[in-house]
């Protein structure tokens, strides 16, 4: 059972969470001014790294908060999690 550290509630079972995809994709301020290609880039294009990946997760069965997580796509390990709007800690909880 994968444990995920909710930045508010602490370690919880993976089954309490929902995955939200890649983190850090800011919605363009003025979509109208974008070309189709630029808009498509925001809409569709996602990283698919082998290794560390920054993601959004939601503690659905707990505090309902969305938060950021860094996860290693090779080992599945969550290396750190942090609250929206805050910076990730400079050290990782575990090595990837």
């Amino acid at each position: 059972m994968l444990l995920i550290k909710c930045p508010w509630c602490g370690n919880r079972a993976e089954s309490e969470f929902n995955y939200g995809g890649e983190a850090g994709i800011a919605r363009p301020a003025n979509p109208d001014t974008l070309t189709d290609a630029e808009w498509a880039d925001y809409l569709f294009m996602r990283k698919n790294p082998k290794g560390l990946h920054q993601e959004q997760w939601n503690h659905a069965q707990g505090c309902r908060r969305w938060f950021n997580a860094e996860r290693d796509t090779v080992t599945y390990r969550f290396t750190r999690t942090w609250r929206i709007g805050e910076a990730p800690s400079s050290t990782r909880d575990v090595d990837s």
């Binding site: 059972m1 994968l2 444990l3 929902n18 939200g20 800011a26 919605r27 003025n30 979509p31 109208d32 974008l34 189709d36 808009w39 498509a40 809409l43 959004q56 939601n58 659905a60 309902r64 908060r65 969305w66 080992t75 599945y76 390990r77 929206i84 709007g85």
Partner: protein, 1001 residues
Amino acid sequence: MTSRRLESGGFVDRGKVFEFKFDGRTLKGFAGDTLASALLANDVAVVSRSFKYHRPRGIVSAGADEPNAIMQIGKDDATLPNLRATQTELYNNMVARSTKGWPSVNFDVSAINALFGRVFSAGFYYKTFMRPKRLWRCYERFIRSSAGWGSAPAGNDPDEYAHRNAHCDVLVVGAGPSGLAAAVAASRTGARVILVDEQNEFGGSLLSEDTTIDSVPAMQWLEKTVAELSNCETVQCLTRTTAFGYYDDNFVAAVERCADHLGKPPGQTVRERLWRICAREVVLAQGAFERPLAFCNNDRPGVMMASAVQTYVNRYAVLPGERAVLFTNNDSAYFAAVAFKKAGGLLAAIIDSRQSGAGVTAVTNAVDHGIPIMNGHLVTDVVGKKRVRKAQVAQWSGDTSQTIKNTVSIECDLLMMSGGWSPAVHLHSQAGGKNIWDETHHCFVPGETLQQNRSVGAGAGQWSLMECLQRGGDAGRTTAEACGFVVQAGQTYETPQDQENPIEPLWRVPASRSPDRCAKQFLDFQNDTSVADVRLAVREGYRSIEHVKRYTALGFGTDQGKLGNINGMGVLAEALEVPIAQVGTTTFRPAYTPVTFGAGAGEDIGEIYDPVRKTAMHEWHEMQGAPMEVVGQWLRPWYFPQYGEDIHAAVARECMAARNSLAIMDASTLGKIDVQGRDSVALLERIYTHDVGRMAVGRCAYGIMLGEDGLLMDDGVMARLGEQRFYLTTTTGGAAAVLTWLERWLQTEWPELDVHLTSTTDHWSTIAVVGPKSRELLQKVGCNVSLQRENFPFMTVKDAELGGFPVQLFRVSFSGELAFEVNIGSNYAMAMWELLIDAGQEFQITPYGTETLHVLRAEKGFVIVGQDTDGSVSPVDLKMNWLLSKNKDYLGKRSLQRADLVRTDRKQFVGFVPVDGKTVVAEGTQLVNDPLLPVPTPMCGHITSSYASACLGHPIALGLLQSGHARIGEQVVAAQSDGTYVDMQVVSPVFYDPKSERQNV
């Protein structure tokens, strides 16, 4: 039949006799027996037939590695297939059946396959049954039935299973000497410890061996240790529990067989319990498996692992033969030979393949018991079909490439073999750990770990009892310390010291002919994989152990190669001319031993398979005999049949009541969200496509939300309850997803907005009162606000008191009729429903369900998200342009300008009427322009909703049609699944009251 039971000794209870049936014969055993020990005690030599050649097979091992004694246990619906007799505790009246061999294990018609052994080589099935392809189904049926793997029960499993979550500081897997030492050491620090062992009692190898710990018999030490652990409050001891899977974050799954040994679980006892253990640290002390030796005909009944013989003798008081030969390449098996001799067996000879033989301790022990030892010798072959009769023994120089010419026969009915030991690295490997090759002991041992686990004892290649105890204790203390507990100085143990000679590996035994032409030398007994098969695979170009495994089926059986894989790797290494470390191991996956479906399912079956959500009025609907429709997790009444009515008659009657008089529906399953906060308008403007800010307080509006891709996501009525307060409804299935969607944008993208979202789906129940008489009904039960059009116009909301209850009253309509929706606290809802039903009698108030709801809305052309839309439909396709604000940005707006969404040939939402005026086509029916075009005929759309309409007098349908908006008035053809065609007129989706006057009255 002779009894092979010893007069004394062992851990069986001779006072408690169990009768059992094996393949129809009634036999007797004792409490404390396994099925295997009881069969051996009854001198049953043949217990199954092999997979491919149908050769007779006997019991080989005494544990999880048993490849042959695979049984169907129990009868009727409680039967379990493919259990290992060596791990099945005997109970009274057990019914056991061999899973292989037809009609019986002693006479198997397919044994003729054995005569064609040269034909049935590796890859035989792949090569032979590939062509012609169409015949594979035929072949498959024959192959499967003649292979035979037990049978699943026909009915539901009558027993109960359970799941259990557990947490501990230190989990110890295996309660042999090293596991016990680890558990005791950890528990003395105060750590929470869980100790699991697959056997019915703790002790592991101590239960079979005759030795001392701290100068007292090992059994005394065992009793004392187990007592200490059982009395410790922070320790949970689980016997009959197999840790079978090691997953992420030190999560270990184990199955406890609570009642398998009792036959039928008594009372409320569960049969098996799945333990889901979250451990901070794990100590793996799983022990090791003894390896067979690959000589000719090494699968004959009577050929057994040496350690298994020792276990049967010492633990179960069974002598598995009268006259034995031991064939070994290491010292450990000498003690098994001595145990056999001491129990009264004849030991003809110890055949040791090593030129220099065994170490002083082993040799002295054997010589003291008068056992002859032949160093530098081999057993090349055995004679005897259903039972070993002779071993063919020859002198050997130590050169594996040599063929053996002169052999002598030694009579025996038991051949004990030992090819050394392989640590059980399964859980370590599942946890992601690497294995490394130990050059001294010639085995893979656990290497680096990825998780918080460490291996000790024989499972880590620590072979002496002293080392097992010492390393076990160290691991217990280290792991407890890692969990933050204070550790005292380590304990030391005193055990007899042996002087050993090292093992010399012997992956295959030279024979009188080349390994490719000699009699079968089996590696994997269960799959009939032989030395020659692996060598053939190499000749045919296979190199990777994973590919060889799949080509030869080596290690594919229920024992997952516990017994034979290592010899297979050795043979492969020889054939490839590389060191065995380079060949590597195959992947170890859960489960370590097979787990029942029952344990996997646990309690999540039947009525608690998934939550069933019911509305506050559910009991009333049930009393009326309404069939239920499953909508997400909800149960909703489908229709309310009166006496003798079918669904069509009931729905027609319900629809007419709504159109002409008065009908009532439970709409409580709608998702409901309360929105409050300074920035409520700002948030909703960005989510919904219409101008939310322009809504006056007290107004309702139909709203849709789009994904950023511009496609319709959900819809519903929203109401502005205050300057900064809104009430949203969502579709029944979309409630949770919409709330999560809103929260996501609010929390991650627009945290500066001050808005609070709360689900009120459960708090409010919703009753729709529909029809021309609805206003009269509400007036009749007593309403404290005016319901007249000028005071309470269409699409407005008011707080009110209705029949004395506080309610939110919405003047909205999903039917096109004059209608009100009553929101009432769920605990009051049943009382309100009954009040309305009683008061409505004079208007023939008619309850209706989801079917009528769908017909009424379809007559008005209202879409149902998820039925008329499928995630590829834009609001423009639905002609909802009037909802799309030009004054603001909202989610998905930019996408509406994407090239794909402005295409004019998109599938668009329209209505259909069958030209014949009577056919109700099935929902999902494809539409074509010309059915006579050759197959595959191009499709131009499909029907999404289709009903008979009582008030219109003809069927209606809704659907998506390419360029549909421009094709009103044309005809298309619905191609029905039965091959017939129905001409459909394309019409506006609004069939009834197109000016929408009726809801406004």
